[in-house]
């Protein structure tokens, strides 16, 4: 019976990711009108599945095995708390990173139960969290410069045509990343605890993520999507693709990073080039606060509960 708890939690988290993070990938594509909402979600679902199938294992290994040896109780508590926190933040519309919450929870319950927590792993993950938005900033910056030198030279309608295709590719990249990185973070611990095999969990996870996207993503797409589409398509593409490639890079390295923060990094990179304040300092402060608080709160809560239970 208790084995179902991690499952339920996973399902909830996957659903949460679907409802909240779809906007990262598709906000631009739909805003760009390249593709209608329904088809976009279908496409999104496909590529999430492809992502987790093709490259999920690296991140899964990091979170599920390298970090600490998971057992049932750790799993149940950390995933349940994570699910609650994630759903709470979705509901309150706070930008919370799934990765940070999950890893914070796992670490918290792990330390509390005296399990063997690999601090080197934690350090590497922490480092990735710091470096990834900066890398995204850099990628977006360079990409925009290259686009200025090449794409700008063409005639107006040609640019429009090319940009439409590029934006679609960029959206697909983000969808792939959500599968390979984000979903993998959630499923990693479950798979490595032996509860369920890789294939079924990938399918289940993707399916519930897809449901989340189908039922609830539309309201977020309008609001969050505007963050990027407030930029013109030219800059928007540079920002999103820069962020996407950055996340892909870290996925290759097996590090779980947050696409949302990378996109913020990407937008800042492009904004810096244009000399305007695309991301307000107020927002950045909020983001940094979240970035520090989220894993710690998750850590503390799980730690406390674990201790209480033992």
């Amino acid at each position: 019976m208790t084995e179902l708890i991690p499952f339920a939690a996973c399902i909830l988290i996957a659903f949460g990711i679907g409802s909240n993070d779809t906007s990262n990938a598709l906000g631009i594509c739909i805003g760009a009108g390249i593709i209608k909402l329904r088809r976009a979600i279908l496409l999104f679902g496909c590529f999430v599945l492809i992502g987790i199938m093709l490259q999920g294992q690296k991140v899964m290994k990091t979170v599920g095995r390298d970090l600490l040896e998971v057992n049932l109780s750790i799993l149940s508590i950390s995933l349940s708390i994570s699910a609650i926190l994630i759903i709470l933040s979705n509901w309150k519309k706070l930008p919370l990173s799934t990765h940070q919450v999950i890893i914070g929870s796992l670490t918290g319950s792990g330390v509390a139960s005296g399990a063997d927590v690999n601090f080197l792993s934690i350090f590497k993950i922490f480092l990735s969290w710091i470096i990834s938005p900066l890398t995204a900033f850099f990628f977006a910056f360079m990409l925009y410069k290259i686009m200025e030198k090449t794409l700008s030279r063409l005639s107006f309608f040609r640019i429009e045509r090319i940009l439409r295709n590029l934006l679609l590719i960029s959206g697909i990249l983000i969808a792939y990343n959500i599968g390979a990185n984000e979903l993998a973070t959630v499923l990693g611990p479950v798979i490595y605890s032996g509860l369920i095999g890789k294939m079924p969990s990938a399918l289940l996870g993707s399916f519930f993520l897809f449901l989340g996207a189908v039922f609830l993503s539309h309201r977020v797409i309008e609001t969050v999507g505007k963050g990027i589409t407030a930029l013109d398509p030219f800059s928007g593409f540079a920002a999103q693709f820069g962020a996407g490639s950055c996340v892909l890079l870290f996925t290759f390295l097996g590090m779980p990073v947050s696409t949302t923060y990378c996109i913020i990094g990407g937008i800042s990179g492009v904004g810096m080039l244009k000399g305007m304040e695309t991301v307000k300092t107020g927002l950045i402060k909020k983001v940094i606060a979240n970035w520090i608080l989220a894993p710690f709160i998750a850590f503390l809560i799980c730690f406390a509960i674990m201790r209480a239970l033992i």
């Binding site: 593709i35 700008s152 063409l154 107006f156 309608f157 429009e160 439409r164 589409t229 398509p233």
Partner: protein
């Protein structure tokens, strides 16, 4: 899905062709109007409202095509606005033609000459607008065409200044004749301003995606 990516090219092509058609309609109307003044031909004046109606229907088709899904949404309002400004030019030409009918096709020789000059420059501006639009498709420099249109507009301003001086010295037989004359000159000189606006808007569109 794939076909949506490539298929999309067709709707855009249609919109582009229609915009060219719309501007050509504007050119024809302006040309027709000029000939009507030159030749004192009342029949030619009737072609202008016909062309204006045709321009309206082309414009409606363009806008509905655009909102069916042509172009990035970011660009759609700009492109629509451009078409609307061009259509406004067409409306002004029609207004001028309308007033001209009431003047019973007679004007003082000097005033008539100036009006013909302005109508001629208007036609040239319309042609240049078409050329300018086509640079969005080719690698030519839009700025030159934009500058050419501004040069034309300044020429019209010069003539307009003189024309108004002459008008003030003209005798009119009554309020309505005076009003008609004044409105006619007003519309005639406004065409160039609207075309200049359209050209400036093209420049904005061009810059929006770089």
């Amino acid at each position: 899905m794939i076909e949506k990516v490539f298929f999309g090219g067709k709707t855009e092509q249609k919109v582009i062709e229609n915009i060219k058609k719309h501007i050509k309609t504007l050119c024809s109307a302006s040309d027709c109007f000029k000939k009507a003044i030159e030749e004192h031909n009342k029949d030619l004046i009737f072609c202008v409202p016909d062309l204006e109606r045709e321009g309206d229907s082309i414009r409606r088709e363009i806008i509905s095509n655009i909102y069916e899904g042509a172009f990035l949404p970011f660009l759609r309002p700009n492109i629509c606005r451009f078409v609307e400004i061009a259509d406004e030019a067409l409306d002004v030409v029609e207004d001028a033609a309308h007033e001209f009918e009431y003047l019973y096709l007679k004007l003082d020789k000097e005033i008539e000459d100036d009006c013909i000059k302005i109508a001629d420059i208007n036609t040239k501006m319309c042609e240049m607008l078409l050329v300018a639009f086509e640079t969005l498709l080719s690698k030519e420099d839009l700025r030159e065409k934009n500058l050419a249109i501004r040069i034309y507009e300044k020429k019209v301003d010069e003539i307009k200044f003189d024309l108004i001086e002459k008008l003030r010295k003209t005798d009119v037989k009554g309020f309505w004749e005076g009003k008609t004359l004044s409105d006619f000159i007003s519309y005639l000189t406004r065409v160039s301003d609207v075309i200049e606006d359209a050209s400036d808007y093209l420049y904005i569109i061009n810059m929006s995606l770089r």
